[in-house]
Each structure stands twice: as C-alpha cells, then as structure tokens.
C-alpha cells in the first residue's frame, strides 16, 4: 500500500501522518506537494492537519483550489480512500467530499487536549478494524471544529450510519460537557456514502505511540490497510 500525504502551505501534521504510516504501519508513504497534479500512485490520500493558507477566508476554503485537490477529488470519486484530519476535514468539507462545515468552537477557545471518541460506525475503510461502540482516546488541537449541517443532512447522516465518531464522556455518553467545540449532535467525524472518505477533527496520527499517551489512533490506519488489501 502507498499513502500520499498532501502538504499545503501551512500544513503542520503532514510529517506526523507520514511517520505514522512509515514507522508504525511499515507501509510506503510519500508527501504530495499542493501544486502537483500527480498522486504518485498513492492508493490512499491523507489530508493532514494544520492551517493551510493561513485559514484565510475560512479554514480549508482556499486549499480546496490547490492543483493536487483536483486529483484528490477525482481519486475519491473513483472510490479511492481519503481521510481528512482536522484541517484536512475542513478541506474535505469545503471540497464537497463530505457534507457540512466546521465553524469556530462555541467556546471561542482553541482547544488542545485529549478527548474520548465513541466509534459509531465500522462501515468505513478507516474504521472497519475497530469495534462499534468502543472508545478511543486521541488529541484534538483546533479552533474551528464545531461540526455544523442542517437538520435534514444530520438526520440523513445518522440514518445512513455515516456519523463515524462522536465525542463522549468517561461513561461513553455524548454529553455537552464531553463536547470540546459545540459540534451538532456531538459529531467528531463523518463519512461519505460509500465509507471511503472519512473526516474527523481529532488526530489519530498523534495517537500512535504509548510514549505520547495513546495508541488508539492506530486502528484507523490498520483499518485502512485491511481496506486496501481486502
């Protein structure tokens, strides 16, 4: 398997994502420059975290027009796996790969902390190795993570099992207190209709080493591997 990690000007988690694949998964990974038109044969694309284009206009709004994004969208339309992490989630929404939008945190504070997620759906190529209902701990670090969509869209996502992750408390309940950004229905991540594109605000690539507090992010990458090899 070969993973392509897109580097936009302002990306700051691209190297982490690359290391997660190369060192923890022992698979191939390559950085894809935003001006390139070539996915270099990548089977999977990671849109990493950061502040692409300085978050000008809206987070992810400008990155969507990068040359590489035209290739990423085409790859996704062919059924190729794409995961958007943090800023990558914002970019995926702006690019129309996923429904909804990420707005300023309700607290108006930048939140950098570990959160608990509940796996809501294992019907995606990024969660198929996880257990439905299981809880994962991984960090968040964002100022614009409040997932927002209209009620009809949210109902459709719920009905189709496309809410992939929710913020929950220690008891596994999606309470307001457990929600770090005020996202609608405590949503932390969603998928497209075929489960091949997933976006989430938390950082699985920063939860790959016991030394760094959690290895719960691994399962997303392991799922990915199973998804590609299956």
């Amino acid at each position: 398997m070969k993973v392509g990690v897109v580097s936009f000007p302002g990306s700051n988690c691209d190297e982490d994502a690359l290391l997660a694949v190369v060192e923890r998964l022992e698979e191939q990974a390559v950085l894809l420059w935003h001006k390139d038109h070539d996915l270099q044969g990548a089977d999977v694309v990671i849109l990493p975290g950061g502040f692409s284009y300085g978050d000008y206009l809206r987070a992810g709004a400008i990155a969507r027009f990068s040359p590489i994004m035209q290739e990423v969208v085409a790859h996704a339309k062919r059924g190729g796996p794409v995961i958007g992490i943090c800023n990558g989630f914002q970019i995926a929404c702006e690019a129309g790969l996923l429904p909804g939008a990420l707005l300023r945190n309700a607290s108006l504070q930048f939140r950098s902390m570990p959160v608990t997620l509940r796996v809501e759906s294992t019907d995606t190529v990024f969660t198929r190795a996880a257990t439905a209902g299981s809880r994962l701990t991984m960090p968040i670090a964002h100022g614009d993570g409040r997932y927002t969509a209209d009620d009809a869209t949210l109902d459709r996502l719920e009905g189709e099992g496309r809410v992939t992750f929710r913020y929950v408390d220690a008891a596994g309940e999606p309470t307001a207190a457990a929600n770090p950004n005020g996202s609608m229905r405590n949503i932390a991540g969603v998928a497209n209709g075929t489960g091949t594109v997933v976006g989430l605000m938390p950082h699985p690539e920063r939860a790959m080493e016991t030394l760094l507090g959690s290895t719960d992010g691994l399962v997303l990458f392991q799922s990915l591997l199973a998804g590609v090899k299956a």
């Binding site: 300023r104 309700a106 927002t148």
Partner: protein, 85 residues
C-alpha cells in the same frame, strides 16, 4: 468595460450559533449598552472588478459569493453596494 467597487456582507446563517456575535453582545451589555438585542459577526469584502454595467458587476460578485466567498452551508451574503470605481 468599466471598473466597479462591489461591497459584500457575509454573515452567519440565521439560527446558527454565533459565539463571536454573542461574545460581542455580552461585552456591549457589560459596557452599559443594554438596548443591544443581538450581534452577528461576519465579513465585509470590497471587490474591484470590471464589467459592462453595474448589473453585470453585481451578478459576477453574486457568483463569486456562491462559489467561494460564502459557505452555502453556514453563511448568508448580501451585496451591500455597487459603485463605479
């Protein structure tokens, strides 16, 4: 073709939580502006563009808003003014 200066207001969609607007409203209340009922924080863009006439300049900016400047999921926009630049 003539040059036009088009002003656009982009604001959070009505009904959506606007924490910045609420924070500003709270600050105004603290300052004693007790008559303030609501505040919405958005963006104001001034676009200089060429067009055959004002109507075309406005139509062009409207399309820019739909495709890039405003997020159709969360924001509303209004063309505030079209003036010869």
């Amino acid at each position: 073709m003539k040059r036009f200066r088009v002003s656009v207001h982009i604001v959070p969609r009505k009904g959506l939580l606007d924490p910045q607007g609420k924070a500003v409203a709270d600050a105004l209340h603290t300052l004693g502006f007790s008559t303030v009922a609501d505040v919405h924080v958005g963006r104001h863009l001034v676009i200089e563009t060429s067009a055959g006439d004002a109507q075309h300049a406005e139509a062009s900016v409207r399309e820019m808003c739909s495709r890039l400047l405003a997020n159709p999921v969360t924001e509303d926009f209004e063309i505030a003014a079209v003036a010869a630049a």
